[in-house]
């Protein structure tokens, strides 16, 4: 009975967070967060600085351990799974501050998830296939000319693209983009947004964490708002922005 229920839920929700709680010492970073993301969705996650957005991502991806609650992904309980195991299940993330492998060329940066995630899923590929795939991914984000360069040669926007390309290389079902656009110019933001939309159209579910409201509003089909570790709103972007509680949190 329980099993049947689980599989029924798995059909609708790709990611499900139940009553998740996380504290650092006496500080409650997240309190009773429940959240579900359906397959193919474009979800925006917003909240003021320090509201717990990145902590939530870290709990979902296994970088931090949550004391309370549970995370299910694709019908599987994630508790106790290490970060790399979750990536192999199809849960990818990009980091708020790009974290490239600094001693490796761009193409080798992309190669890592292919070697360790895609190959580990049992879809064996020849070295040549992997090379082609790396080149394709770099082409997709417009970095093919710098394939042999080191990350230190990149500009800020290129660094963000590399971060996204590396997350995409693991062929995820769900991509969590943690502030992929912070510090970018208007046109650079458009570039990244177009990239994410294209990815979503290919069937990847995307959770976008962002401060830049213009980007969030144009991208998201649904919006979730975190304030001081609690979820205060969840729904249509326009409705959420009209919510008096959200207005109060943002405008003081």
């Amino acid at each position: 009975m329980n099993g049947a229920m689980n599989s029924a839920m798995a059909n609708t929700d790709l990611l499900q967070v139940d009553n998740l709680g996380k504290r650092f010492g006496g500080f409650v970073a997240l309190e009773n967060i429940s959240l579900s993301v359906a397959a193919g969705e474009r979800l925006g996650l917003i909240g003021p600085n320090g509201s717990g957005k990145s902590t939530l991502v870290n709990c979902i991806c296994g970088t931090l351990r949550n004391e309370q609650g549970a995370v299910r992904f694709n019908g599987r309980q994630l508790d106790g799974l290490a970060s790399h195991q979750r990536t192999r299940l199809g849960l990818a993330r990009s980091f708020q501050l790009p974290r490239p492998f600094v001693s490796m060329s761009l193409i080798d940066n992309i190669r890592i998830p292919l070697l360790y995630t895609v190959a580990a899923r049992g879809t064996g590929r020849s070295a040549q296939d992997i090379d082609t795939r790396c080149a394709d991914l770099l082409h997709e984000v417009g970095l093919e000319e710098k394939a042999r360069h080191l990350p230190r040669d990149l500009t800020q926007v290129e660094m963000r693209k590399l971060e996204l390309a590396r997350a995409m290389a693991s062929e995820p079902k769900l991509l969590i983009a943690d502030e992929a656009m912070a510090g970018l110019t208007h046109s650079e933001i458009e570039e990244i947004l177009a990239l994410l939309v294209r990815l979503n159209e290919q069937g990847v579910t995307i959770v976008l964490i962002e401060h830049i409201m213009r980007a969030v509003m144009s991208f998201s089909r649904r919006l979730v708002v975190l304030v001081s570790g609690r979820k205060i709103a969840d729904g249509q972007p326009d409705d959420v922005m009209r919510d008096p509680e959200v207005e109060r949190a943002y405008l003081g």
Binding site: G62, R99, P100, I112, P113, Q156
Partner: protein, 339 residues
């Protein structure tokens, strides 16, 4: 180059070096060469964990001594008194020493790899101190008095026993270099490099960092133990003070740093350079000058060539004008847009 071809070339070079040393006609060449080769193994082994993964191990002496004392223990066991005496071939002793050190390497990794940076290094240093204390208080292997191991005078076909030890250490060096090169060009090597660069990002890319670090500590420890196993036969009188000497730790760090840590070539070049210099200094000046030599060279390299000789060659070969223009600084702390 494929690994069998590489191995063949190494063996040919080894054969040339061995016949060349025979041609000198003085067995001192083998005594000095043995030490250099031993350091080739130690620095290559250190580099697998320290250079590839970025975990600085100060416990080289501990793993080396584990190999050496495994041999002493087996020696005591097999030549207990005059009633019986079996001589175990050195390659077998190497396998045993390697196994013991590999197991300890695995254990050390399991206990300490959640530590990073200086904390990991301090833990490895502590391992050396703990093991030395154990050995000093273990009478069976000689305790603080030390242990005698009688080296056979001659061995069939080759002649003087030191030539045999030299040959074996050379083969081990070839094996160590081949293993290091194999790792470097494999999936494992890529994984090790991600650990050195950024463990959090590595995990996010699906790299099982803890498992890879355990593989690295085990391989590295095992190779160090194998290098230590023939040592009692070389030195004849094994004593805790000299077996756990700081020299092993310092040299096996300095040699890869001087050569370059990102490739198997680095430790090899660094060892040939520094190891030979030390041997020459021992004969011409005094053995006490060795550490001074290491210190001065290390300071010089940190200032002039922080990426070692390999890094120096790389920058010389890859210097392109485009590298110096149009590079924008990547600012991690760029101000973020606030809604």
């Amino acid at each position: 180059m494929r690994t069998p071809t590489f191995l063949l070339i190494c063996l040919v070079i080894a054969a040339v070096v061995f016949t060349g040393s025979l041609a000198v006609g003085n067995d001192y060449v083998f005594f000095a060469g043995y030490v250099v080769l031993q350091y080739v193994v130690l620095s290559t082994a250190w580099n697998i964990l320290g250079g590839y993964c970025g975990y600085v191990n100060f416990g080289t002496a501990a793993f080396f001594a584990l190999g050496a004392y495994s041999t002493v223990a087996i020696y005591k066991l097999t030549t207990g008194d005059d009633s019986y005496s079996i001589s175990i071939p050195i390659p077998v002793l190497m396998l045993v020493g390697g196994a013991v050190s590999g197991v300890v390497g695995f254990g050390m990794g399991y206990l300490t790899l959640r530590l990073r940076g200086a904390f990991f290094s301090i833990a490895t240093l502590a391992l050396a101190v703990v093991l030395e204390t154990l050995v000093v208080n273990w009478d069976y292997v000689g305790g603080s008095r030390g242990a005698y191991v009688i080296r056979p005078e001659e061995i069939a076909l080759i002649g003087n026993y030191i030539r045999y030890l030299f040959l074996i250490m050379m083969l081990l060096a070839v094996a160590a270099i081949t293993v290091a090169r194999l790792i470097e060009h494999s999936r494992l090597g890529y994984g090790f490099a991600t650990i050195r660069d950024d463990e959090l990002a590595a995990e996010a890319c699906g790299v099982p960092t803890l498992r890879l670090k355990l593989i690295a500590t085990t391989i590295s420890g095992a190779l160090m133990g194998m290098a230590g196993a023939p040592f009692p036969y070389y030195i004849s009188y094994l004593q805790p003070d000299s077996t756990f000497a700081l020299d092993y730790a310092v040299n096996s760090i300095a040699m890869p740093l001087i050569g370059g840590t990102t490739s198997w070539v680095g430790p090899l070049i660094g060892t040939l350079l520094l190891g030979s210099l030390q041997q020459i200094a021992t004969v011409t000046i005094s053995s006490a000058v060795n550490l001074l030599l290491v210190g001065c060279l290390l300071v010089a390299f940190v200032i002039v060539a922080p990426n070692g000789i390999i890094g120096l060659v790389h920058t010389y070969l890859q210097r392109k004008p485009e590298e110096f223009v149009g590079r924008r600084r990547v600012d991690a702390d760029a101000p973020e847009a606030v809604p």
